[in-house]
Symmetry: D2
Subunit: 434 residues, 4 copies
C-alpha cells in the first residue's frame, strides 16, 4: 500500500474537483451543488451517507438564510448540474453530509472534517488573476472561494476515494464530516449536536495556507483560537423629511453610528486578547429622509470563552441602550458563535511521524497560534471532553492574495499534500494507542 503513489494518481482529479467547486461557490447553508456532489461521490464509493437531520441538527444551525434565499439557491444548484434527488433531501438549508465506513473490526473511531462553504465576495476579474487566466473563476457574483474550502472539499473527496480503495485494510470506524457554513462560525455546532463527534478517538481538520505560506510546510497543531460571537443588529426608527420635520424622525442611522463607536470603545481586558468589529453597516433610504432602518453585522472575540463573553455582554448592553437613547427599536440576534480551543499536544509526535514519511513535506512546525476563530473548535472541544484527541493542521501554500481577499488563490500542489497527510494520519491512528 503506497499512499504517495495512490494520491499522485488522482492529482488531476483533485485539481479538477477544486476548480469545479471554485467555479460554483456556494456560501453557508446553500452549498446544495457542492453537497450533492459530495453525497453522490461518497455513495458511489460505498460509504454510508447521512444527510438532512441525520447529518446536522436543524435547530442548532446558526444564521440560516431566509426561505426565499434558500429556494433560489436550490433551483440554481439544480440548474448548474446538481442531482435533484440529493437537493430535494437537502432542502431548507440542510447541506451537511457525513460519510461513514464501519469496518466491523475493533479499532478507534476516527473523524475528519472538511468545510465546503464559500465567502460573500465577488472574485477579482483581473487578467493577472490565475483563475481568470485559466478559466475557472467564480460564476456567481457575490460568492467566491476565498478561503480555500474548495480545496478542502476536494481533499475530502480524495481522502474518501483512497480510504475506500483500501477499505479491507482498515479497522474501527471512519467518519468523514463535510460541514456547511464554517464562515461566520455557524455550522459546526449543528453536526456536533447530531452526535458525530461523540465517542471519537482521533479527530483532524486542516486548513490550506493561512499563516503558513510555504508549499511543503505543515503546522501540526493550531492553538490560540479566539472564541467568537457573531451578532446582527437591526435598528428601526421613524422616517421623516429632514428639511420639513426633522424632529419627527428617529434616525436609525445615527443609532447605528453611535453603536459602532461605542462598541469600538469597549474596555480592553487585562486577562488577555479581546476583539470587536462592526464589519458592515447599511442604513437609510434617501439623502433627505431621516433614516428609519439600519443593519449592522458585528463580531466579538476573546482569547478565551470568558474573555469573549466579557466583550459580548458589554456589546449587548451598548446595542440595546443606544436604541433607547436614540428612541429607536432594536432587534439583535446571535447568528454564529464559537468557543476557544486548544489542539491536543499528544498528537504532535504522531503527525511528525506521518510527515516524515512524505517526500513532499519540507518543513514541520509543531504548534502555532491562530489569532482568529474557526468553528471546528466546537468539534475539538466535544472530542476532547469525551477523552479523545483532536488537532487542527495547516497545509502550507503560497498565496496570490490574502484569505478573504478577491484575488485569493493557492498553489494547487497543496491538494496532494493535504490528502496524503490525512490518509497517513488515519492509518497511523489505527495503529496507535495514545
Amino acid at each position: 500500500m503506497d499512499i504517495s503513489q495512490d494520491v499522485q494518481a488522482i492529482q488531476d482529479k483533485l485539481t479538477q474537483r477544486r476548480r469545479d467547486f471554485h467555479m460554483f461557490p456556494e456560501s453557508g447553508w446553500v452549498e446544495y451543488r457542492t453537497a450533492a456532489i459530495v453525497a453522490e461521490q461518497l455513495n458511489q464509493l460505498n460509504y454510508q451517507v447521512y444527510v438532512r437531520e441525520d447529518a446536522s441538527r436543524s435547530s442548532s444551525r446558526m444564521g440560516v438564510p431566509a426561505a426565499e434565499v434558500l429556494q433560489f439557491h436550490e433551483n440554481r444548484a439544480i440548474s448548474e448540474g446538481a442531482d435533484p434527488v440529493w437537493v430535494e433531501q437537502m432542502k431548507g438549508g440542510h447541506t451537511a453530509v457525513v460519510g461513514v465506513i464501519r469496518t466491523g473490526k475493533p479499532g478507534p473511531v476516527i473523524a475528519l472534517r472538511f468545510d465546503m462553504d464559500s465567502n460573500d465576495l465577488t472574485e477579482s476579474a483581473s487578467e493577472s488573476h490565475r483563475p481568470v487566466q485559466e478559466g475557472f473563476s467564480s460564476r456567481h457574483a457575490g460568492m467566491m472561494h476565498a478561503c480555500g474550502h474548495d480545496g478542502h472539499t476536494a481533499i475530502g473527496l480524495g481522502v474518501a476515494e483512497i480510504l475506500a480503495k483500501h477499505k479491507d485494510r482498515l479497522c474501527g470506524e471512519i467518519r468523514l464530516l463535510f460541514q456547511p457554513a464554517e464562515e461566520g462560525s455557524r455550522g459546526a455546532k449543528s453536526m456536533v449536536d447530531a452526535g458525530w463527534l461523540d465517542n471519537v478517538d482521533y479527530f483532524f481538520g486542516g486548513h490550506i495556507a493561512f499563516k503558513s505560506k510555504t508549499l511543503g510546510e505543515i503546522v501540526a497543531s493550531i492553538n490560540g483560537f479566539l472564541a467568537t460571537t457573531k451578532i446582527n443588529v437591526t435598528y428601526t426608527g421613524i422616517a421623516a423629511h429632514a428639511g420639513a420635520a426633522p424632529e419627527e424622525g428617529r434616525s436609525a442611522l445615527l443609532a447605528a453610528a453611535a453603536a459602532s463607536l461605542h462598541l469600538n470603545g469597549i474596555s480592553r481586558h487585562s486577562g488577555g486578547a479581546t476583539r470587536i468589529n462592526v464589519g458592515t453597516l447599511e442604513a437609510g433610504s434617501g439623502r433627505n429622509i431621516v433614516a428609519d432602518k439600519a443593519l449592522m453585522k458585528l463580531e466579538t472575540r476573546g482569547g478565551t470563552t470568558e474573555l469573549n463573553h466579557f466583550v459580548k455582554n458589554e456589546a449587548i448592553r451598548i446595542i440595546e441602550n443606544v436604541a433607547i437613547m436614540y428612541n429607536v427599536a432594536c432587534e439583535w440576534e446571535i447568528v454564529g458563535e464559537a468557543p476557544g480551543a486548544e489542539s491536543s499536544p499528544e498528537l504532535i509526535p504522531v503527525i511528525r511521524q506521518a510527515v516524515e514519511q512524505m517526500g513532499s513535506v519540507k518543513s514541520f512546525i509543531p504548534s502555532m497560534d491562530l489569532g482568529g476563530s474557526e468553528d471546528i473548535v466546537y468539534m475539538m472541544n466535544r472530542v476532547q471532553q469525551q477523552g479523545g484527541k483532536a488537532s487542527y493542521l495547516l497545509f502550507g501554500s503560497p498565496l496570490e492574495d490574502g484569505h478573504h481577499q478577491v484575488g485569493f488563490d493557492f498553489d494547487e500542489n497543496v491538494l496532494v499534500i493535504g490528502t496524503e497527510l490525512l490518509i497517513r494520519l488515519v492509518l497511523a491512528c489505527q495503529e496507535t494507542i495514545l
Copy 2:
C-alpha cells in the same frame, strides 16, 4: 374661450398620462422615456422643441449617474416604448426638454416649469395601495413617483395642449420647461445656465399637495425655501482580518460613523433655521473584515443661502478631518445645491383673481412656508434678479401616504385644477402689467 371646459375635456387624457408615467418612473437624468414622450407631444403640438445642450447646459448638471447607468436606462426606455430618435438625442443624461411658442406679437415672456423625475424607492405592493388595485403601480424596482412629478408632467402636457389650441389668441412668448432631476436639487441650474430663465417676465411652478392636503385648495406663494447642499462622501480605509490583525486595518465604517455623529452635532445658528441629515450610509464588506469602504449621502440646509453655507462649511471640515483622524482616505463631491428664495408677493392678487374664476377651487391661501428645499429656486432667483416675478404654488390634494413614502398617492382630480390654474395664469399675465 372656456378654459374650464377645455380642461374638463382632456381630464381622462391627463389621468392616463399620469398613470403611464407612474408605471414607468425614471429618476434624475435618466428620464429618457418620459422626456421622449414630452418632446414628441410638444413637437406634434407645433411647439419649437429644444433638447440636449439647447435645453440644459451639460456642465451645470449635478449628480449625473455613471455612464453605464445612463446607458442601461437608455436601452430600457427604448424597450419600454420610447422613440429611439428622441432617446438618441438625449443620450448621456440630457433629458431636459423645452417647448416654446413665440407668437410674434408684443407681450410678456412667460415661463412655466414641470419636473419629471421619480424617487429612488420601491413602490408599495400592498393590496390597499390604489395604484396596485388599479394596475398602474411602478414597473421599476427601486424607482417610484412618490412626489407627484408624474402628475406635474401630465399637467404640463395638458397646459401645452390647450395653449396650443388657443395659440392665435396668445401674445409674447411662452416657454414650457420640463426639468429633469429635481430630486436632490440637481437639474434646475442647468436649465438656468442654458438661458431659459433670462428675460422672463412671469414665472410659475407648482407642486401637488405637499403641505396642502385638501382638494380644491390653492396656495399662491411658497416662501421659506431652505437653501440646501447635497454631498456624497466616500471613505476608503484598509481591510484587515478583524481577529488576526485589527491593527493593520483602517475602518472606513468607523470614520463614517464618527462623521455622522459629528455632522449631527454642528452648532445651531442664532440667525435662523439650519438642518443636517446623513440620509444613507453603506459600509463594509464582511463581518470579520475591518471595513475598507464607506459611502455617505448627506445634505445641509439653511433658512438662507448664508445659513446653509455655515452648515456646509462646518460639514466639509468635519468630513475631511474625520478622515485624517481615522487615517482613511476621503473623497467628497457636491452633487446638488440650491439657494433660498421667496415668491414675488406682487403675484398673489393675480393668482387670487385667477382662482376666483375657477369653480373647482374652494380655498385660497396667499402664502405658506415650505421648510424644505426645491431647486426651482434657481429659476425664481434668476427671474427676479432680472426684474421678473416668480411664484411657486401648491395644488392641494389629499394623500394616501406622505411624500417620499412608498404608499404615496394623490387624488387625480387635482390634475384638472393644476392645469386650469396655470393656463389661467398665463392668460392673466398676458393682460397684466405689474
Copy 3:
C-alpha cells in the same frame, strides 16, 4: 417735580453704590451683603420691607447651594460689613427683598424688578480694566458682576429713594422687587410663588446694555426670550487601575463625553429655535485611574416653552441612557428653568412718551429679539395672565467686554438714565389707563 433734576442730584450716590456692589459681588442665593444693604435702605426710606418667606417661597427656589456654602457666605457678608440682624433673617439662602409703598389712594399696582446676583467668574486683573484702575474691582475670587446686576441694584435703590421723596404724590401701590439668583434662571419663580406678581397692573424690568451698546439708546420691549432649563448631571462609575485592570472600571468620564456629544446631536426642530449647551464638564481623579466621577452642567433652550420641552425631554432620555450604556450610575437635577415670554406691545407708546421727556435719551428702539433667556419671564407671564401689562427694557451702554466676560464694564452714566426712565414709567402708569 423735576425728575431729571432729582436723579442728577444722586448721580454720585448711584455710582458709589454700584462700585460698592461691584467690589463685593455675591452669586445666586448668597447675596447676603447686597440684600442686607437693600433691606436697610428701603427700611430707612420707610418702605414696608419683606424678606425671608415673605419675599420668596422657599420651596420654589432652584439651585440653592449646599448648607456649608450658604453659611460661609453669611459669615463673609457680616465680616464685610453686612448688618448681622438682616443677615440673620436671610439665613439659608433667603436673599429676596421686597419694598412696598401702599399709598392708600386708588390707583394701579406697579411692580419693578431689580436683580442682584453676580456671576461665577474671577474678574480681570488687567491694568487696562477700569475697575482695576479705579480701585473697585471684585474682592471675591470666583465671583464678579459681569452682567451689570450691580448697576441694576444701584438703579433700584435710586428709584426707591426718589419715589419715597415724592410719596405723597403717588397713588395705588408700588412694589420694588429685589431678586436673587437671576443667573441660571433660579430666583424669579420663588418671588412669583410668594404672590408679588399677583394683581399687578404694570410691570417693568430692565437690563443694562446687552444688545444695545450705545449710551442714550432705549429698547422698549424685549421679545424672543428663549425658554430654558438648566440641568446638572452626575455620573458615578467605578475606579480601577487603567493599566492593571481596565475591565474592572466603569468610566464616568467616557459616559459624560458620550452624553456631551449625543446631547449636542439632538435634532433641530422645524417649529423654531432650539439650543443645547454642555457648558462645563469635570471628570476623573487621576490620569491612570478609570474616572469614577463626572459632573456636567448643561442647559436647553427653545423659542417657545414647547420647543424647550422638546429639547429637555430628548436631553433627559440621552442623559439617562448613556449611563446605562456605560454601566454607570446617574443623577440629574433641574436647577433652573424659565418659560418663554413676550413684552406687552401696549406699553411701547407709554415708554416712548416717557423717553421723549428725557434729554439723555438719543435713540428709541420699540422692540428687539433677545435670543437668550431671563427668568423675569416668570414674572411677566404671571402679570400678563392676570391681565396686567409687562415690558422688559434695555438701557443702552457701550461695553468694555461682553456680558459674562472677565473684562466686562459699562458706562456708569447709564445709571442715571435707567433710574430716571423707571421713575417716569411709574408716574406715567399712574396716570394711564390702557
Copy 4:
C-alpha cells in the same frame, strides 16, 4: 554580622520615619522636605551625597510643575522643618538624592532605588482609617502617600544605616538612589541620564504590596511592565453665549469629549496588550457659555515599547485632528514616559537564597506579571544594556485599601522585611559572580 538582629534593632525608627513621611507627603518634584531629610541622613552616615544636577539631569525631568508651585512647596518644606540649606540646593524641582559608598576594594557596583513622591489625593478622614486613629495621616490636602513610597524611603534610610555600620566589610561600590516623581513615570530617566545606572553590575528596586497582599511573601522578579506615555492635552476654543450666538462659539468641551471617545476606540493590537485611559477632563467656565477651554490628562500603555508607540501615535493623530474638526486650538505635551522591561531571570536564585535566610519570609514567588507601569524600567534597561543584572521585587503586605485609593495603608512590619532583604541582596551580590 547578624543582619536580622541589626534590622530588628531599628524597627521603631523605620516606623517613625515612615509615619513622618506619611504626615508630610510631597508629590513629584516637590519632595523638598523628604529629600532634605534623606540627604541629611546620608550625610550623617558618611555617604558621599549628590544632589541637584549631580543627582539628576535637569533637562531629562518630565512634568515639572510651574515655578510658582515649586516655590510654594520650597517654602512649605522649610516651614515644616526641612533644612533650608538642603532645600536651597534643591530649588527648582531638583529633589533627587544619591548616596554612595566607594569602598576602594575591588568588587561589583550595586545600585538600589527608592522612590519618594506621594500621590495627588486627599487622604481619607474616616475614623476607621488607621493613620487617622494613630494620628499620622496626611497634613497636606490633595497629597497623600497612597502607594507606599513613604515606606520605600524609610526602607532606603534603614538600608543606608546598616550598610554604613558594616562599611568595612563591604567591597566595590554601593549607590543608593532616592528618586523623585515616580508617579507619572517622570523621574527615573533624569537619574539614568545623570549616569547613575552606568556600569552597574546589580540593581534592585522593590515595591510594598501591589499584587502581593500577604505579609512575609516575596516576589523575586516582576515582568510584564507595560510601556507607557503620559500626555496632557489643552484645547482652546472660543467662548460665546450659548443662547444668543452659539454659532460664534467653538467648544473645547465637545472637542475633548470627542477626543475621549475616539481615543478610547483606538484599535486593539494582535501583538499584545495595549491600554488607553483619559483619566481626567476639565472643561468650560459656565453653563450658558460655549466652553473655551478643556484640559485632558491621559496615558497610553503597551505590552512592549513598540505596542505603546502604536497607541501613542494613534492617540496623537486623534488629539490633533479632533481639534481641527472642532476648529479649536490644540496643545499637547508628553509629561511622562517609560519603556517596557523584564527582570533578569539570573537573579531569581540569588534572591531565593537570600530569602531562605530570613525567618520572616513565608512565601516565595519567583516571577509575576505587573500589568502596570513603573519608571524604574528606565534604570533596569540601562543596567541590562550594559551587561548588568536588574530585578524589581515585591514585598508582600495586606492592604486596607488599594493602591492610589484614599484609604490606602499597609502593615508596617513589611518595613523590616524589605530592609533586611535588600541588605542581604547587597551582601549576596558582593560574593556572587553570575
